[in-house]
Symmetry: C2
Subunit: 343 residues, 2 copies
DNA sequence: CTGAAAGCGCTTACAG
DNA sequence: CTGAAAGCGCTTACAG
């Protein structure tokens, strides 16, 4: 018998289906002898309850959806570890990508609508998509926690957990300025990314606070990928041939792009940090081992994962989250070998 | 009305629930006027069918499970892109990690047992776990395709898609030997990883074929992470202080470890490739942008994803996969700047 | 083209 | 402690 049902088990054990169900779900309510008999049969038949029926009957799945930007990004590794820790096995995690290669919003929205998940953790989804997710979860009263990135103004009030990206970028920029850099370029991410927007604003604000000029060329948009950083740098370094002044420092909105910039600098024989200081953001595992090792801003990724999951559990189980909408975790400036004072 | 059911819709539209169901699932069977009326009400009430009930009723979920080793690994990005392409929206993907931080096997096994997914793509799960998954999927007649790694002997006969890791590692090693290297160390992955086992065997075989000596020190085990590679290299380079001969080439079982080795070499002032040649494996996006750029072996990750998904679809829909159990895709030696001939 | 009805496998008050 | 029964929301032969 391939996949026995409780009806079949009941027949075999000579009890009612209610009793079989109790043996599985609340054995303390069943007599010892009955329990033993039923359990023996469960063993023998290799029975496991049909979760589709259970989900349907109970109206819940014990699954939460974690939406990440892209699977290849090392940042999400630590976050997920945190989420898993906080969930402590009580809920399963389903991952979905929302980035460039991700499914169309439809697939994910479908899962939400279909009540197949009981909560959502949204990490760095690009803008039109994230707004749709949030609206949908609202309409369905599906608990949601935003991690890593702030909310756009029209979606404030939702629980979220992240660092102060504006302040972190401001600090990193101020640090570069304190080293004597005046011509600094910020390589930003796509305009529909909220994290990036805050980091860019922090950069611009620090430049102004430092009394430095900012123009169109001060910010360059790319896509947060290694190759994106490489291409952006190639364009910047094209100035070598036209004779225009190169920046003395480049600050990238994430480490991946900074690694791309580093590679481009090497190809153009621009020594880092000798002739160019370089900063990244995120402090992924690759930042520490590049040559030179990358100065960057560290996010407490694991803690962000833990707090996001804890707050989601609270929202699911207590019916509503009562912490502050914005929970800000501390960031940390990590100075390594890719930045240096102007002589 | 929050989440109307077809019963409520039927009442509103003055039709039977069967008709409502048909309007949703097979509108061609419904009269034009009826259809229009019901659709209008579906619009107004913002109805969407309860997928829990649908899944239960239909006995299927249209979801496939993709088990990857760890989320942070850039290799999986391209594979998933391929899987998604091949699935063409007909199935949704659920991702789970099986690596060090992953859930205990129980969670994943639970999902399989519970009939919540209709097929599995297994990518690089460590050994006791992967065997359990495979056994379970067999017992449940759940289609499964293995990607990226070979099967252990006791599990042969299952469809799988991967490169010839033995031959690829043999080629890479032979390339190093052809450059004049004699003292070559292989930094391997955990012993419970099948991919790694093949690569290691390929290395050893090439060494013997090249007439080179191999001893205990020729292979060093690590964990496929950047830090693992760094630590392994630190131990190797400790020979600097004891006066024992350092290898002139290091071949790592993946790029991440090679990047760790590169960093350690820099810290020990060992020029790469001047004094040490270095090879990785996988050709992730980080391999191309390290300094020096990493020589490595490229896997057609996207194609592996595509073929794995295509074969899974076949198995799900045609009841059984009839291609060859082993499908070998081509690899490619990528020579960059981290390897050089011994003068 | 439409409706009445059975049934998917389970859980859970309710009664005993 | 146990059983009979209702019902979760849907799909689908069957009959008309």
């Amino acid at each position: 018998m391939a996949n026995p049902t409780i009806t079949e088990l009941a027949k075999l054990a000579g009890v009612s289906i209610a009793t079989v169900s109790r043996c599985v779900n609340s054995p303390e309510k069943v007599g010892k002898k009955t329990l033993a008999r039923v359990r023996k049969i469960i063993e023998e038949t290799n029975f496991s309850p049909n979760a589709l029926a259970q989900n349907f009957r109970r109206g819940k799945t014990n699954i939460i959806l974690v939406i990440i930007h892209d699977v290849g990004n090392p940042l999400f590794s630590a976050i997920l570890e945190g989420v898993r820790l906080a969930l402590a096995g009580r809920y399963s995690i389903i991952l979905t990508e929302a980035g460039p290669h991700g499914p169309t919003g439809e697939t994910v929205l479908g899962m939400l609508v279909a009540r197949q998940v009981e909560g959502v953790i949204l990490l760095c989804a690009p803008l039109p998509f994230s707004r749709k997710i949030v609206e949908m979860s609202r309409a369905r009263r599906l608990p949601i926690v935003i991690g890593l990135e702030p909310l756009s103004d029209d979606l404030s009030g939702l629980p979220n957990v992240h660092i102060d990206n504006f302040r972190a970028a401001h600090e990193a920029t101020s640090y570069l300025i304190s080293l004597g850099h005046k011509n600094i370029v910020f390589v930003s991410g796509p305009k529909n990314s909220l994290v990036t927007r805050d980091r860019e604003a922090g950069f611009l604000s620090a430049m102004r606070d430092g009394g430095l000029e900012v123009d169109k060329a001060s910010v360059r948009y790319s896509d947060l990928s290694v190759n994106g950083g490489l291409n952006a740098a190639n364009e910047i370094f094209a100035g070598l041939f036209t004779g225009s002044a190169l920046p003395t420092a480049i600050f990238c909105a994430n480490d991946d792009m900074a690694l791309g910039v580093l590679s481009s600098a090497a190809r153009h024989h621009i020594p880092v940090p000798g002739q160019l200081s370089l900063m990244g953001f995120d402090d992924t595992c690759y930042a520490a081992v590049s040559t030179p090792a990358l100065s960057t801003v560290s996010q407490p990724a694991r803690d962000i994962g833990i707090r996001a999951a804890e707050r989601l559990l609270q929202a699911i189980e207590m019916q509503g989250d009562h912490g502050p909408a914005n929970e800000i975790l501390p960031h940390r400036l990590v100075v390594r070998q890719s930045t240096r004072a102007i002589p």
